[in-house]
């Protein structure tokens, strides 16, 4: 297959993984815990988007037949879905993380608690919306063509959009972290929350901010993926979540550019799997991940872990 086609395939896949992994990264950076409810928030973002553009709840949930009295354009529904997801992420922080943090509980407990929050959320979605699949209508992107031809290679327009939004969010996030007072405060908290607190930084506020942004990213990526490949029921975030965990580790825990780089590498690794082996692309991607971690356990852009004695 043409190199351009393979690159496009890999980049469009990788963009989704990267966007997902960015959310994990932010929370990990401030709490040192992987937030396992992230996949559920991602799923929720897809459902929010679907409902906001005028989608109707199916026949099998408590909200059967529900349709909002308005239908927003996708460009407006997506950021709103992101905001709604951010609120849910803040709620998760409040009920699943903060009480444990206040009691000085082991970070492993917060990880389990986040897993529980995710399971509850997924089940809640199922209860309300049923287990059926939903699809964002074809034509939601208006007059844009279904696919674009770039250098002789074909790529779906929605994939290009996904890649563009991912890059945009990375740039915005990076500029904010580097150039704003609150971004620097977040970095300080991620380095050492106690010292940051002593310097007058409200660590709790920074943690809430990380959750909010992480939830926003999850909601937006859920909406975009839902647009691209439909919403295959309440569990559809799980496989993306697992892949994004690999991306997170590959890029280096807590590293924003690492998350992007890891996503793109895993995406490209999958795309370059020969057609005859296409069903083994996960194995190839994870094999690649394994190899890199053997050679560089801290991930591509991660710092070596400090050893405590």
């Amino acid at each position: 297959m043409d190199l351009i086609q393979l690159l496009l395939n890999g980049l469009s896949l990788g963009a989704v993984y990267a966007l997902f992994a960015l959310g994990y990264t932010l929370v990990f950076s401030v709490l040192g815990v992987i937030n396992f409810s992230h996949g559920a928030v991602f799923t929720l973002g897809a459902y929010f988007t679907y409902l906001l553009i005028g989608g109707q709840a199916g026949a099998n949930g408590l909200l059967a037949g529900l349709q909002l009295p308005f239908a927003l354009p996708f460009a407006l529904a997506l950021p709103l879905a992101g905001l709604a997801s951010a609120l849910v992420a803040l709620l998760i922080e409040r009920v699943a993380f903060r009480p444990l943090r206040r009691r000085g509980a082991d970070s492993l407990l917060a990880l389990i608690s986040s897993l529980g929050a995710g399971v509850i959320l997924v089940n809640l979605i199922q209860l309300l919306m049923g287990a059926e699949s939903y699809a964002i209508p074809i034509g939601t992107l208006g007059a844009l063509p279904a696919a674009l031809s770039l250098g002789g290679a074909q790529v779906r327009t929605v994939q290009v959009l996904l890649l563009a939004i991912s890059v945009l969010l990375l740039v915005v996030l990076s500029v904010w972290l580097e150039g704003s007072r609150s971004g620097k405060a977040l970095q300080a908290v991620s380095e050492d929350p106690v010292t940051a607190q002593l310097l007058g930084i409200d660590s709790d506020a920074m943690i809430r901010l990380a959750f909010g942004i992480s939830g926003f990213l999850a909601g937006v990526s859920g909406g975009l993926v839902g647009l691209s490949v439909s919403i295959a029921g309440p569990y559809f975030g799980i496989s993306y979540g697992l892949k994004a965990l690999g991306v997170l580790v590959l890029g280096g825990l807590g590293s924003v550019p690492g998350a992007m780089l890891g996503g793109l590498i895993i995406g490209l690794a999958e795309a370059f799997v020969p057609a005859a082996w296409s069903g083994w692309k996960d194995a190839v991607a994870y094999g690649f991940l394994f190899l890199i971690l053997v050679l560089r356990p801290q991930g591509l852009l991660g710092k070596p872990q400090a050893t405590k004695v």
Binding site: M1, Q5, N9, S12, L13, V16, T25, L26, F28, S29, G32, D106, S107, A131, E132, S133, A135, P137, I138, A146, A147, A153, Q154, V155, R156, S174, L177, E178, Q187, S190, E191, S228, V229, S230, A232, G233, P234, Y235, F236, S239, G252, L253, G254, S255, V256, P257, E270, A271, A275, A276, W277, S278, G279, W280, D282, L301, K303, Q305, A306, K308
Partner: protein
């Protein structure tokens, strides 16, 4: 740059979460002891007690009501509910109502195993399910070991009845149905020369059906120009599709489940594929319409059920279905689920007439019921069916349909081809 953006947090990876080997051993022994103690506390073997008819004649169904196969489970749930109402309306099992309990298997094997075990432990006389062949290969051996009859309403992979003599199915296997749609595609377009095949390699149904499809293609002189493998949970097929389209196929053959299959069709069309598409039984549900929407139009599928079949059994089924679903056309999975319950009910009626179920113990009733299922001939919505001694269905009528979407692309129908 990395130094600026890094949000690295030092983590402490301590060993404090680990349990020592000695503690684990003690814990294991304690659990084992508890299990043995509990096991020893039981009364007489429940399978040697008379069949418990206090709530009705106990039957169980295990359907994928959640997870990525939920679209099938929901169709089947409708079929079972309607059949239950119809059969109980006609007096159940010689005056005793059928009591059908439905459990959700999720869409995976552990879920199916757990649901089978739960139902068997409840004392059901027979089981309907599970939804997927992949699950059947895992859960059916449990029923076989416990000697509980199973009637599969939707397992089409090769080798299902061969799991054991308590396993039967009313869903005709892929090898019977799948070649029909290939033949019809070539009949509609004799110029087809290059076929591309897609299947989910981690799914028993898909793997079995694609073998049949590929054999049928080869028999027609169309050795596939590319075979692309996916996985059950895949949703993005850009890589496989662009690889396949480089081979310039004019026929695409899919053996995928409904959600991934629907996505595959949408992405195929969006990436510019304009040729014919033949799909397998996994997409034999109207639940694909919301996924591939307008792009579902024109796909070909072989079916084991036709709403247009003229028979009293199909009329009764159609009447019930359309009354409850606002005049909609019933999908095959719903008709097959109805059929599965009908088969069990008629076999139970015959069995009960010979010797009342109340006079049999559970194990004996299950054994006799299996023999009764296999010996009968049934007039069902699928037409007349019976079984081989191994439990394989023998069905007379099969059909090929083409999906016709309405102009809005929101709903459609399987239009039978003459």
């Amino acid at each position: 740059m990395t130094g600026i953006f890094r949000l690295q947090r030092r983590t402490e990876l301590s060993a404090r979460t680990g349990l020592g080997g000695r503690r684990l051993s003690a814990l294991s022994l304690a659990l084992l002891g508890s299990a043995l103690a509990l096991g020893g506390c039981g009364g007489p073997d429940p399978e040697q007690l008379p069949v418990n008819l206090s709530q009705g004649v106990p039957l169980g169904a295990v359907l994928a009501m959640s997870g990525n196969a939920n679209v099938y489970g929901q169709d089947q749930n409708t079929g079972l509910s309607l059949a239950l109402a119809e059969l109980n309306g006609k007096g159940g099992i010689n005056g005793k109502p059928l009591a059908l309990k439905i459990e959700d298997s999720g869409s995976d094997e552990p879920g199916a195993n757990a649901a089978f075990t739960l139902q068997i432990n409840r004392g059901v006389l027979a089981l309907i399910g599970p939804t997927l062949s992949q699950q059947a290969f895992s859960a059916d051996p449990i029923a076989q070991r416990r000697r509980v009859p199973v009637v599969a309403p939707s397992n089409t992979a090769t080798g299902i009845p061969e799991i054991g003599h308590f396993i039967s199915r009313v869903s005709a296997q892929s090898s019977v149905i799948a070649p029909l749609s290939i033949a019809r595609a070539l009949q509609l377009n004799p110029g087809i020369r290059r076929a591309a095949v897609f299947y989910a390699q981690d799914d028993a149904y898909s793997s079995a059906e694609t073998t049949i499809f590929q054999q049928a293609l080869t028999a027609k002189g169309l050795k596939p120009v590319t075979v692309q493998r996916t996985q059950l949970n895949d949703q993005d097929f850009q890589t496989q599709i662009t690889a396949a389209l480089q081979q310039k196929p004019d026929l695409v053959v899919l053996s995928l489940q409904a959600v991934d299959g629907g996505n595959m069709i949408r992405q195929l069309r969006e990436l510019g594929y304009k040729g014919a598409i033949v799909v397998g039984n996994g997409m034999n549900t109207p639940n694909i319409y919301p996924i591939c929407q307008k792009y579902c139009d024109g796909i070909l599928i072989a079916q084991a059920y036709s709403p247009e079949l003229k028979s009293p059994a199909n009329s009764a089924f159609l009447r019930r279905f359309q009354a409850s679903q606002g005049g909609a056309i019933p999908p095959q999975l719903t008709a097959q689920a109805w059929t599965a319950l009908q088969v069990l009910a008629e076999a139970l009626q015959r069995l009960d007439r010979r010797q009342s179920l109340q006079q049999r113990n559970l194990a004996e009733a299950r054994q006799a019921l299996m023999a009764e299922i296999l010996s009968g001939t049934y007039q069902t919505p699928l037409g007349e069916i019976r079984f081989t001694p191994e439990g394989e269905v023998i069905q007379k009528n099969f059909f090929v349909a083409q999906v016709r979407m309405d102009p809005s692309g929101k709903s459609g129908r399987f239009a039978l081809l003459p």
